[in-house]
């Protein structure tokens, strides 16, 4: 296994379109890194640059102390698992898994041992004589992973491997990937746009948007201390509720409500007195003991909790997530508030110079 270091990596396509801007990341040996972001944010491009499937325009890629920036993909000792499995339909599962080793002309018995070991890990032993079309999507993805495992690469790369699977299978495969990482203790880089996958799998998450890294950190850090409004709204489901307003005399004030700040918030926002800020509150941090009037439009019971959609003062659309079964009807009015220690404040740039507003506290 290996350390991977991406230093000031940039990707500029022919025609001048820049897909990745100044990407810096040090992946430790055995670490599970998840690149997450919306479609077109540059996460797959970054992964493909690590794999060698895309040229790196600027910057350096160091794998285990060796500069691999211009190295051919086959010489990087990296295995990649794709979303569409990329299995050979005319070969059996055994032959698919053994394929890369057969190309390397490894000894047949060594190949056999490696394939059997991978099949054991992935519970594929009974499927080895079948063809890919005889397997389910989840099994095919396991075969694709097995093909990567037999190579015993320095780094595993996963490019949205679960996107083709249904929700239930995605959940079980996610747990299998977690187990696989524990068993192999391998360095893994995983691309997804699904924040659930990112939060559950990652040792560290790299959150990207429009080719820029927005935040790198542990899942809990991104959830509890988002660096900007993009991360705040991207991580968490449903997304965080955002309110524009001002800080005035120890209150967060806007046209809809006036909310008192606690002493810690007052201290943190002292220099923003009279200035525009953005308040962010996650739906699960909305309470029913406040003074803000909330007109309910929709009530979605999810079993363990209820998503309640509505408008504050008939204007601002907000979502609340209450940890119990609720039976609100359209038009019901309740009072809501915020959990004090779970309120996030972001800078508001009145000139709109920044795409995403930085977190204050």
């Amino acid at each position: 296994m290996a350390n991977v270091s991406l230093q000031h990596i940039e990707k500029i396509y022919d025609g001048g379109v820049q897909a990745v801007w100044d990407f810096n990341l040090d992946v430790k040996d055995g670490e599970f890194i998840v690149l997450v972001g919306p479609s077109g944010c540059g996460k797959s491009t970054t992964l493909r640059m690590v794999a060698g499937l895309e040229d790196i325009t600027n910057g350096k890629l160091i794998i285990d102390g060796k500069d691999c920036t211009r190295l051919a993909p086959k010489d990087r000792d990296i295995a990649m698992v794709f979303q569409n499995y990329a299995l050979y339909g005319h070969m059996t599962i055994y032959e698919n898994m053994a394929f890369s080793l057969t190309l390397r002309k490894e000894d047949k018995q060594v190949i056999h041992r490696k394939v059997m070991a991978a099949a054991e890990i992935l519970d594929l032993k009974s499927q080895l004589n079948k063809k890919p079309k005889q397997l389910s999507g989840g099994q095919r993805q396991r075969v694709a992973m097995g093909r990567a495992i037999v190579r015993n690469p320095k780094v595993f790369l996963f490019d949205e491997p679960l996107s083709n699977l249904d929700a239930k299978l995605r959940g079980s495969m996610r747990r299998e990937i977690m187990l696989l990482h524990k068993k192999l203790n391998a360095t893994m880089m995983y691309v997804t746009h699904d924040q659930t996958e990112a939060l559950t799998l990652a040792d560290r998450i790299v959150c990207m948007s429009m080719g820029h890294v927005q935040q790198i950190g542990k899942p809990i850090e991104l959830y509890e201390h988002p660096a900007n409004t993009f991360v705040a709204t991207f991580i968490g489901l449903p997304p965080m509720n955002m309110f524009d307003g001002k800080i005035e005399n120890g209150y967060f004030v806007n046209e809809l409500f006036k909310y008192p700040l606690n002493s810690e918030q007052k201290a943190g926002l002292a220099e923003y007195e009279g200035k525009d800020v953005i308040l962010g509150v996650r739906p699960e941090n909305m309470t029913r003991d406040g003074h803000i009037k909330f007109n309910i439009t929709n009530n979605e019971n999810l079993g363990m909790n209820t998503l309640v959609h509505g408008k504050i003062e008939g204007k601002k659309i907000v979502v609340c997530k209450f940890a119990e079964w609720c039976n609100y009807k359209y038009g019901d009015e309740i009072n809501v508030g915020f959990q004090e220690d779970r309120m996030h404040f972001f800078e508001k740039d009145p000139e709109g110079r920044h795409e995403y507003q930085k977190a204050i506290i």
Binding site: T92, Y94, K108, Q109, H112, R113, M116, A117, L128, N129
Partner: protein, 195 residues
Amino acid sequence: MLKFRKSSVEKDTILQNDILHYKKNKFAGNFALLALVFNCLYFTMLYAIHSADIYKPLIGLSVIVNLLVMLAGFFCSEGIKNYNKKFSIALFVLAAVQIVRIFVYPLTGMVDGWMQGNYYFGAQMSTAGNGVVLIIYLVASAACFIVAGINGLLVALRLEHFDKKLQSGEISVEKELAALDEAERTSSAGEVNNG
């Protein structure tokens, strides 16, 4: 030393035999297909001979035999790939058919002389020349069927014997793989210590 080598060979055999469970017998299968290639060469040459004498009722039977040989040969090729020893017997029968066919057209053609003046691959050939080439094709086809049959039979018997041993618990692939992994770990740990 000898003991070690013997043990090593036995381990190799266990894994080699286990590999058969996951790989097809392409060697035998491909030889059966090669036999069909020679059969194709035989009948294309036979039907290319420009002589009115060849167009007799017997040619219809020859076409049918060719079709049957091609069909049976293909089925046997697939069967033998999957270590089914019954198909080895069928391959021997096909080889016998090819040998018998030598005495039908090539020899009768040579005796009757109707194969004279054939142009094949641009060269004018004598009756004897035509006959010899046809015989070579049939012999090559039969030889390929025999090689495929023998190989298929031997490997199928080897696998059958191995499976019996596996089922009786005399040998265990899992234990073998675990032992080899352990040996590899020990040797790599030794290398690290030495290093």
